[in-house]
């Protein structure tokens, strides 16, 4: 299936409306101005070309230039982009990057920060029913991943603290801080005592 301009133009407009709300993303995107990035959306056999600019992105169904970078993934793979700060990691696994990988990762990080409703965007190209089915899958996966993510964070901290003993527990940190306080007080008390003893010592010639 080749996406037609009539379908891709509204998609471009929708992306740019999102970008208009996020000056930071727009600034980051401007660094990638004029680079040519191709998205291969697997399963749908869909290609989209993205050319970032200073004011937004341009999206085309074809672009007659050698891509600087190709991002290849399933719609679900691209949907995982929306998972907040962990998106970088997931993005690497779910979406294959070819060519200038640094460029692909930077673009991925920018897209991840935008709160993109991929179902809504894709529906412009594929029609509602297909996009909705994909969207349901993506939402279920996103919930599962978010849950898995929370569990993972808890398990990981337990491992580092209790098993590997690489990181102290909260209790150990408090203990240590108390000990430091005690040591500081003791040192101060000792200094005061030394000073007092020096004052008490009879000076030569006094006796």
């Amino acid at each position: 299936m080749s996406a037609e301009d009539a379908l891709v133009a509204p998609l471009e407009a929708a992306l740019n409306r999102l970008l208009a709300l996020d000056p930071e993303a727009r600034r980051d995107l401007a660094d990638l101005q004029g680079r040519v990035i191709r998205f291969d959306i697997l399963g749908l056999g869909l290609q989209l070309w993205l050319v970032p600019g200073a004011q937004g992105v341009q999206v085309y169904p074809r672009y007659d230039a050698e891509p600087d970078c190709v991002l290849r993934g399933t719609p679900l793979g691209f949907a995982r982009l929306g998972l907040g700060e962990r998106a970088d990691e997931l993005f690497k696994g779910a979406v294959e990057i070819e060519g200038d990988t640094a460029l692909g990762e930077r673009l991925g990080a920018i897209l991840a920060r935008l709160d993109i409703d991929w179902e809504e965007l894709l529906s412009k190209v594929t029609g509602d029913p297909i996009a909705h089915t994909l969207g349901q899958g993506a939402r279920a996966m996103r919930r599962q991943l978010a849950r898995d993510g929370d569990v993972l964070v808890r398990d990981l901290s337990e491992y580092l603290q209790e098993e590997a003993r690489l990181l102290p527990t909260r209790y150990e940190v408090d203990e240590f801080a108390d000990a430091v306080d005690r040591l500081r007080d003791d040192a101060e008390r000792l200094a005061a005592r030394v000073e007092r003893l020096q004052r008490l010592r009879p000076k030569p010639g006094d006796a």
Binding site: Q33, G34, Y60, Y63, D64
Partner: protein, 251 residues
Amino acid sequence: MANERPDTTHFGFQQVPVEEKAERVRQVFDSVADRYDLMNDLMSLGIHRLWKRQAIALAGVRRGQRVLDLAAGTGDLAGRFAEIVGPSGLVVFSDINGAMLEQGRIRMADAGRAGNIEYVQADAQALPFAGACCDCVTMAFGLRNVTHKERALVEMQRVLRPGGRALILEFSHPLSRPLNTLYDLYSFNVLPTLGRLVTGDADSYRYLAESIRMHPDQETLKAMMEAAGFERCEYFNLTGGIVAIHRGWKV
């Protein structure tokens, strides 16, 4: 044309002295400049935006390149090119008509596009640029208004760097007879009426419709590009051949 005397050329369906055509075309565009954009939308039912997108996609311009947009008009192509080439590239926004150029400049400024666009009022038949200075030359809906099309093509070829490409987006000849009939009906009846209602100038839009009929068809224009020194010439029919994009390379 058989009845064309050597010292006359066509202005729509009329024959006019060669030296008069440019002046007549200028009058047409002076008259329509401030509402040209709205009229384009009405005339093409908004499809001209999609035709222009296809031209951009076929141009395949990238960061840092230099693009010359002839007959830039309201800047639909130039604006997108400026976004793509970025601060390290350059877009030369050129039109022979001062009123159109001024409209385009205002539109670009309103859209916040500045820094990498230069405005040059120039005749496509005698471009004021050094040879081999651009990566891409485009002309959208302009060539049919040029008196000596072959001179403009030679000039486009001259200013291109080796490896550069020229794109000509222009009305052409519909491929099927039914479409052609419908199209004739639209352009000779609906279009001048629209023109009168929107710009108050039916004659200018009658000229536009007539000039489209007089413009060389797909194969003829391709042959003209080859004669001007372009290589690997090809054309892409859009909307059933109502519009075609011709592309040629300088090798």
